[in-house]
Amino acid sequence: MAAARLSVSRRAVIIGTSAVPVARYQTTPGKGDYQVVEHEMLARLVIDAMKDARADRTEVKSIVVAQPRPYTRQQYFSTFMASYLKLPCSGIVMEVLGNGMTAALAFDKALDEVMLGRTEVALALGINMETAVSAADHMMESMRKTGDVDFHTPSGFTPISWYALDMMRYMHEHKVSRADIASVAVKNRKHASLNPLAQFRKLVTLEEVIAQRPIVEPLGLYEVPPRGDGAACAVVASEEYAKTLGVPYVRVRARSFFHEGAHQINDVPNDMIALDAAATAAKAAYQDAKVVPGDIDVAELYAPCTIVEVMASEAAGFTSRGGGAYAASAGETSLGGRIPIATSGGLTSRGHPSYATPLYNVIELADQLRGRAGERQVENAELGLLMNELGNYNAAMVHILEACR
């Protein structure tokens, strides 16, 4: 089955972005003199991103918000933000939710609004606040997202345990060591050291990564995503409108999606570490964009753990099956390498405020393709690949982005 892809003539582009550095922002009501609230943070970002875009606020007719975590006190967040910003809209005002893809869906739906001609400019917003809730309490909710809540959750599966299961299988099948895979964490920390939006910027060695306490074997603390809060905004527009602004923009050249019709564990045994959905979606996007993996200059993957970046880089066609870890340890996926992956620092070091994470990945590629990534700039970056894949939830969404300067 082929992945669904772009088939309208009107093109959507990214014209503005803004985000707060990923960090711990969330406060506990009743503790301390002051609280941090989501709408104050996000409203500032909208104004910053619109300034970056030089766009006219009256052109914004659609707002798509990644649904915040259940810990966000303000509910019906999209109409609330439209009110907070005094933005009447004739396209859509809505929240979206879809596993780790949530903020990618906000981006994708904002693009749809533009491509359908409902608006010249659309806002994709995401905010994720969760760090005032302990990991053990947070997992009381997230465990209900693993497999079947009555047949799997009672055994104690957690979302991240699935990546550990993938890694055990990967090491077994491909005879690859934990250290080879862990080199991804070292590489990404180096990238993060150059990213002002990153949560962890101090360099780490492979020995330090391996020495961390186990979280889900064989993955230790530095091989899994830290918990973090974040907020991000992307302003997307029609290419016709973008051309009137005189700013560099990023064109969405191709878009694809695929779900295998299997949620985390498939009673019909499949190859769990092939990430078929990611491979299928990537192939469709390349065909649509009329490019091959070798044409891509920089890639941001939704890869919560080291092993996921390895599997996703294979599924995206950047390396051979079983070769993803070696490519990382050999420097092929580092800045200056053959195909730089996660120049932002990735989810392990840039940080993973889950329901906003894909927008941070959009922002990294937009910065790279607008030539303003500073010390981590990939030279002459023309094409970027954005892959939001959901591991064993067996879905993937791919956007191929193109510099227009």
């Binding site: 302990s134 990991a135 053990a136 309490d137 997992m139 009381m140 997230s142 465990m143 497999g147 079947d148 809540v149 009555d150 047949f151 799997h152 959750t153 009672p154 055994s155 104690g156 599966f157 957690t158 345990s161 550990a164 299961l165 993938d166 055990m168 299988r169 077994h172 099948e173 306490r213 186990p214 979280i215 889900v216 074997e217 064989p218 564990i265 498939n266 009673d267 019909v268 045994p269 769990m272």
Partner: protein, 145 residues
């Protein structure tokens, strides 16, 4: 086809909901039997048991008690878990490929030997104070409970 029943002293940390439809699965499991649904039309099994066939969308199914040998597709030991599982940390879970062609995930009964992918496994009934859950252990395991 009867499974070993492994007693567990405490209650289940996060008990499953039993529906009128899934009740036979849990009743069978209590008695050391693994069962699921097979489609009367296309004859394919599905797990967890379903009142419809996900493969052909017919709605006539039969319950079937099945053999429980298989192999370990993958495993992990969880050191950071949800609050209700704090008393069990660390604990082991795995993915079992049954010889009858079904893949499922469940708790593994911890052993002294290192876990390895592809070792032979058998399903067991974990008999908690308040009811059963599915578990698995290596075929060679000597009952130490």
């Amino acid at each position: 086809m009867t499974m070993t029943i492994v007693p567990v002293a405490h209650a289940r940390r996060y008990p499953p909901r039993v529906t009128e439809f899934t009740a036979p699965f849990w009743l069978n499991l209590t008695q050391g039997l693994f069962s699921t649904t097979r489609c009367r039309s296309c004859h394919r099994l599905s797990f967890p048991p379903k009142p419809i066939c996900p493969h052909c969308w017919k709605d006539e199914i039969d319950w079937e008690v099945l053999p429980t040998l298989g192999s370990l597709y993958s495993w992990t030991r969880i050191h950071a878990g949800p609050a209700v599982f704090a008393g069990d940390l660390p604990y082991v879970v795995g993915i079992i490929d049954l010889e009858i062609g079904i893949r499922l995930g469940c708790s593994l009964v911890e052993q002294r030997e290192p876990w390895l992918c592809d070792i032979k496994m058998e399903l067991v009934t974990l008999s908690f104070a308040d009811g059963p859950l599915l578990g698995a252990r290596p075929v060679s395991a000597i009952a130490t409970h």
